[in-house]
Subunit: 142 residues, 2 copies
DNA sequence: CTGCTAACTTAGACATAGTTCTAATTTAAG
DNA sequence: CTTAAATTAGAACTATGTCTAAGTTAGCAG
């Protein structure tokens, strides 16, 4: 997607959901859309400051809450660390690199055994596979 | 498994791994073995105090670290909260109840698609499925 | 275009949960 | 009995997230 297209997509998303457009919010959503690395608040704040020097952490938190509220971004956590944010709204799984900690999306696939097998008296609303190993980058670097 | 059998199993585990036997450690491991609810430190500490009133939190941390070190217990986290501990060393998946937060073990099953499909340039060391929904108890209570 | 105002942003203090540390005391096990 | 190792209470630390009060701005009404 070109930069222009992304910008239009963001504008539309803001308009559609009634989220007020500010430079900070635009930047955060743009960053999440174009670099799907599941950034933490800390990372987003650092990135934001490279452009809009003097952004407040609170703004990043507020922005992310607004985006989550609006359904434009999903929040999740991994291994007890800080919350991570994902603008990929498609169903997907996650891969976590043991060496560098990178989190990558993995295309969705069903886990068919689930239905018959394990759902005795519970009802399953959703599930997700978390894969762990060594990412492509860490492989070539060693 | 009877209480006696469990006790013997614990004794043997301590002896085999060279973990010194203390009442606190015995209690913690016993609790993890007999009640596989993936307790947190806080929960274990509360349980311990019901018996050995005046146990220190630090002891629970020390104990768990020793048990993890010895390979008798596994540590994991879920949803960015406190670490949870599991004496079930078999491979298994987890189910998390949306309503009450309970964490239950789910018997292991393979996810066959993984091999061919997604492991392009990364290597996958392990994976786990996390299921979410409503547990049996919460179902009957509502 | 201009001015208005509710909403947003800012800096930094504050809050909190989880965990680790410390120094004195007690204990397991040879 | 001895002593290295474990336990204790509570202080201290760390990371993450929330709050506050003052200043700024988006977006609309006129």
């Amino acid at each position: 997607m070109s930069k222009l297209e992304t910008a239009q997509k963001i504008e539309q998303a803001f308009e559609r959901t009634g989220v007020r457009r500010t430079p900070q919010r635009f930047f955060v959503l743009e960053r999440l859309l174009t670099k799907p690395d599941h950034a933490t608040v800390e990372e987003l704040w650092a990135a934001l400051n490279r452009r809009h020097a003097r952004a407040s952490r609170a703004t990043v938190y507020n922005t992310l809450h607004a985006l989550v509220q609006a359904g434009l971004v999903r929040e999740f956590t991994l291994d007890g660390k800080a919350a991570r944010y994902d603008a990929n709204l498609e169903r997907h799984h996650h891969f976590v690199c043991d060496s560098c900690g990178a989190v990558e999306d993995v295309n969705w696939f069903d886990v068919p055994q689930l239905e018959g097998n394990e759902s005795e008296k519970r009802s399953i609303r959703s599930y997700e596979v978390t894969l762990r190993g060594k990412c492509a980058k860490c492989h070539s670097n060693n």
